[in-house]
Symmetry: C2
Subunit: 712 residues, 2 copies
């Protein structure tokens, strides 16, 4: 296979061919060409059509092979589906680096085979394929609008990658209306070859791009996606909208695109782990992108709210809690800073309340003080229309303060509410990309996205963890099970696996007579639990075959005799192998640690509140593996029952380190042993700090070997 080209040539091609260029202005093959011409693309442009002639003043080549010169980096293929393979073949043979297959009618309608054939041929010859089923690419660095969408695209700093053509095309218009300029927009369609991860490589490096927005319906090569996101989000904010959140939506998404939408819980947890800002709606995503593309980044997390209305200040404080924005909280400094600039009756707490008596001068002074103060890292300024305020100065006051804050490198956002004058200022300022919002919650959600990114970029990168496990020995266990055509492990295999992983189980032993019982119990240490072992006795408790909380030698003897007596009396025909004696675990710290090979993301681990009600309480968190220690800790804190690990109600702190190790061990097995598709330890009994964990039960599901590996 030939070496694959640098993705840069997709965004900055030195020459472009349009295979299927049309003379008919109503055709896509004309529209793309005319958009490229109109956008001012400076490279060589070659329409291709067997009819030849001239389109838009450009000579038409009869085939791609005919095109002269070396630097043909990109070809757009706009012929019907059945002719696409031939066109792609021609491009690959000609040495084209990237081929955009605009045409639909492939995996989007179930025709996966043709798509695979196209990609295989292209990659074999060192050409990569974007699409099929796309509207094209716009790239600001190349001044190239190679889409069949609107011909005018406002240049700017936001890059969009979209899996949906319809949404992408309408976003082009909508971003222009919202004064959001684009550095690139790429339609990835069926993602037969090039996907989001490939594009991120370029967009993160591109100096003209300050925010990346992705519309995603389904993830295919999840491990690569995760790794691309992880590194991208340290350098630039990445906002993702993923549809198919709901069960219903997921069904619609699966039938709509060629990809299977993964479980939304997993998606949500994993992209947050990767530092992604997940937006719910297009509107929210646009607000964030617009704000993030222009705001200076804060130095710290102390946000000050300045308001002229108490109620709206309270709403902002509510919104700050919702979106994870932390408030500046230094009563002494607040008083010092604002007592001279706040009217009588105003509040010198945060929110600082300038009262309904405030004029633009009061705002100027207060915002000046906040800008000058080293201890204030960002400011939310709120305005409710009043008769007292000099409305004619509103727009200028906001614009001027935003300019000064930008110069001073401190983030600010305004939220203003009122009638005609206020609305006029709002629309005018939004048109000038000044961060002013009609609703407090929207303003604060933008601050929330900024701070999430702030935390991400200031995170000290950590190495990912991997446990040292004898993978070979585990694979041997799997081979045996496979040979026996089993899809899961037997109990003893599960125990052996836990041994290989170094995860302790409760100590246990079998006693076949009284002497042995005492010996086993003493070797385990008290208290112990005793249980009859007999294939014939199912309901062991009902038969008097169980004794709990045995504290000493005498009790062992009593219990042993009692158990045998009860069982022999009540089930005279039962064959009794002996009595199992086990360490007794106390307390209620039962968790679950699981791992699985996710169809979208590959190795994924799960942690949560364990026991028999996992499905009822659903108090679990997911993460892609491998992961850093910090990520594991964040995962623990994500579950509501995390305080149990810290010790509630006077209990000792639990062994959190051992929980982390267990998660890493399970993740390592899933990551390194492709034969195992699912592993679940439940309950994991977490002991006091320093005393580790005990795995009470384990369940293993093997990958379906007939499918040729789990990651197929």
């Amino acid at each position: 296979m030939a070496a694959l080209p640098d993705i840069k040539h997709l965004f900055e091609p030195r020459g472009v061919a349009i295979i299927g260029a049309s003379h008919d202005p109503s055709k896509i093959g004309y529209k793309i060409l005319s958009n490229i011409v109109a956008s001012g693309y400076r490279g060589a442009l070659h329409p291709v059509n067997p009819k030849g002639g001239e389109i838009l003043g450009l000579p038409v080549s009869r085939s791609v092979a005919e095109i002269p010169g070396d630097e043909l980096d990109l070809a757009c293929v706009v012929v019907p589906a059945k002719f696409v393979f031939e066109a792609v073949k021609g491009c690959a043979d000609r040495g084209v680096k990237f081929c955009m297959a605009i045409s639909s009618g492939f995996s989007d309608v179930g025709n996966r085979e043709e798509e695979r054939k196209i990609v295989a041929y292209a990659r074999e010859r060192g050409m990569r394929v974007l699409g099929p089923n796309i509207f094209g690419v716009y790239s600001r660095p190349a001044a190239m609008n190679a889409t069949f969408g609107p011909s005018k695209i406002a240049p700017g700093k936001v890059a969009i990658v979209t899996q949906s053509g319809a949404i992408g095309l309408s976003m082009i218009g909508k971003t222009a209306v919202e004064s959001i300029g684009l550095s690139a927009i790429v339609s990835v369609g069926n993602k037969a070859d090039i996907d989001e991860a490939d594009l991120l490589d370029y967009l993160v490096a591109d100096e003209g791009t300050s925010v990346v927005l992705m519309y995603v319906e389904g993830v295919q090569k999840g491990e690569r996606f995760v790794s691309a996101l992880r590194s991208a989000t340290r350098k630039k904010p990445v906002v993702i909208i993923k549809s198919g959140r709901s069960e219903r939506g997921a069904i619609a998404a699966a039938s709509h695109t060629g990809s299977v939408a993964g479980s939304d819980e997993v998606f949500d947890d994993v992209v947050r782990q990767c530092g992604v800002l997940r937006a719910e709606s297009i509107g929210e995503a646009f607000e964030w992108c617009k704000f993030l593309s222009d705001t200076p980044m804060p130095k710290g997390e102390r946000t000050l709210i300045v308001t002229n209305g108490g109620g709206i200040g309270v709403m902002a404080a509510d919104a700050c809690e919702k979106y994870g924005v932390r408030l500046f909280d230094d009563p002494k400094l607040l008083k010092e800073l604002f007592s001279s600039v706040t009217p009588e009756f105003g509040s010198l707490k945060n929110p600082v309340d300038l009262t309904g008596q405030a004029t633009s001068t009061h705002y100027d002074k207060a915002l000046d003080a906040a800008l000058a103060c080293e201890s204030v890292d960002s400011v939310l300024a709120l305005y409710c229309e009043t008769a007292v305020f000099d409305a004619e100065n509103l727009e200028a006051m906001i614009q001027e303060n935003c300019r000064r804050y930008r110069e001073g490198g401190k983030p600010i956002a305004f939220s203003i509410i009122g009638g005609e004058m206020t609305e006029k200022a709002l629309l005018s300022l939004r048109g000038k990309a000044v961060p002013v919002f009609a609703d407090v919650y929207t303003a604060v959600s933008c601050f929330g996205s900024m701070y999430a990114y702030h935390r991400r970029r200031n995170e000290r990168p950590e190495a990912v963890l991997e446990a040292d496990i004898d993978v070979g020995a585990i694979e041997e266990l799997c081979v045996r099970a496979h040979r026996e055509r089993r899809s899961s492990f037997l109990a003893d295999e599960g125990q052996r696996l836990l041994e290989l992983m170094g995860i302790p189980m409760p100590k246990t032993g079998l006693a076949r007579n009284l002497d042995e019982a005492v010996k086993v119990a003493e070797s385990i240490g008290y208290p112990v639990v005793m249980k009859v072992v007999s294939r014939d006795i199912i309901h062991k408790t009902d038969m008097g075959g169980v004794a709990l909380d045995i504290d000493n030698r005498d009790e062992v003897i009593d219990a042993y005799r009692g158990i045998l007596h009860n069982c022999r009396t009540r089930m005279p025909n039962a064959v009794i192998q002996g009595v199992q004696i086990s360490e007794m675990l106390k307390g209620n710290s039962e968790f679950i640690v699981g791992g699985r090979r996710d169809s979208a993301f590959g190795p994924v681990v799960m942690f949560g509140f364990g026991g028999i009600y996992v499905e009822v309480l659903k108090d679990v968190a997911f993460r892609a593996f491998p992961m850093t220690r910090k990520e594991v800790m964040e995962m623990l804190k994500d579950v509501r029952s995390y305080p149990l690990l810290l010790g509630v109600r006077g209990q000792e702190k639990k062994d959190i380190g051992a929980v982390v190790d267990t998660i890493v061990k399970v993740g390592t097995v899933i990551h390194r042993c492709p034969s195992i598709s699912d592993m679940e330890i439940n309950p994991v009994f977490v002991c006091e700090h320093g005393s580790g964990v005990k795995a009470v039960d384990v369940r293993i599901i093997l990958s379906d070997v007939t499918r040729g590996g789990a990651d197929a």
Copy 2:
């Protein structure tokens, strides 16, 4: 005390006096008068000022007593705080029915005493007080803008009640900008007398009001508020924005207004119980009010989505799940209805995908079919801008379809996204109050609010439940405890209370010798639990003083001897009263049922996942009491662990009826016994269907009698 006047006269006064009317146009005493004049108020208008003269052509009375005529229903008091009492006194003595105290400087700055004095004097003489600390009242039926806000208010069908003056004033302007007309806006300020509940009585009866919007910071007379909301929401949608959701916000709210904001969890649960639509932000509330004031109500819940883009359709389905909008789901009918009107490759599922090839004609045909179909109850129509669509027809297509749907009595909403042409249509249509939205989530949230109201108004009213409990006997227990200066019940008092409530506890008895042990155990029935009773032995389990799961006479004898032997050996000096023998409860269905006298809402009950981790898992729901059976059932379903009651993992269904009874009993005690402020039964062990519940432990806190009753 004189009879209080009909609230109608506040909204439709036959005569209005302005106490503190001013000649100075910069003063509030001038602004209100001029707003009343400008708004076209037709009743008698009397400026009052000791200086006399004439303002705006109206003769000025020197005192309210001087004003001739009988029908002086309303007085606006706009004098400084220190003169307010005198002014109010004059009005009350003159026989004025309602007095608006505009002035601030009362409980808003901690001066509760003066406020109480004013209200006491007024009510004694049959006058009611609005405020103090308000901007006034606008009432469309009276064509009266008695506010000092904007002079122009667009008339319409939305009534606003606001606790914040600043937010209320800015809402006047903002509603006009958003083309939302008002039927009334009332500022309630400190709510010293008149509150939301009083106003609801009028607004629900007013034919010109179709939606009520409230901005609330804190609730004072919660029981009346709950009862007013309960009945109002059956007749009209009531939208509430409450600030102080977050802890931080709640602190700010408490310092801002005179009221204490209750816990947001309780507020949220209780207003939902009352059928209220709670909006998070002002923006969301406005969207809902605008939509609800104009849309016809649906006949059923089958919503159809029509789209020209698959991705946006998936997002709409996601949003429908989020906002509780149910989708039409009849594959056969869908195919029948839409196969002839959908382009090739379109989807005949719901969402119906007209594809990017759709023109306005396709939309017309599809929406026609949906309007005509009896099985489709409402329609969400989505549009992504495409080059194929005849953009010049977009606005007319939407407006015409909305008109036809309104005529046909079927709700419809559009969500459209695109560039300039689309934006132009959007703004123009929104100005004409056509339900078209820029974001799918906003459109669907409006449908969500419509369906929540639809369900509420179609609910069959049910009687509230009350348990038959000997309240007198319970009060006697409280009296004894109070006499002993205790603020809680002793263990035996708790048990007695449960007996009086008819809530069973696990059977239990004390055995002082072996014979008694056997007798007690046999009378309880096996299995039992045995536990040493001794004030000297704290750690009973550690001393071998506990035996679980005792199944028969022999085991009772063994256990009794064992317990005494262990305790005597290990603690030779302990005085042993005997052994307590109790019924052993099996399974894991431990819930909590609690009740308390909430500072805002009065009697409130709580239900949730019980045991020792209530605070960790926080899986609880609250409701105001009394409540209907349906409300209790909804409360049960609100907790995540509800499936435990249905029986998970092969368990039998639990006795849900007994849980309902227990909640009603606890609610009745809290409701009927003012001496008890808190009651908590935890755990409540729920047995299998037909076998009731067992209260394992109960905690009672008595009202602070020194405060003179809990409801102070």
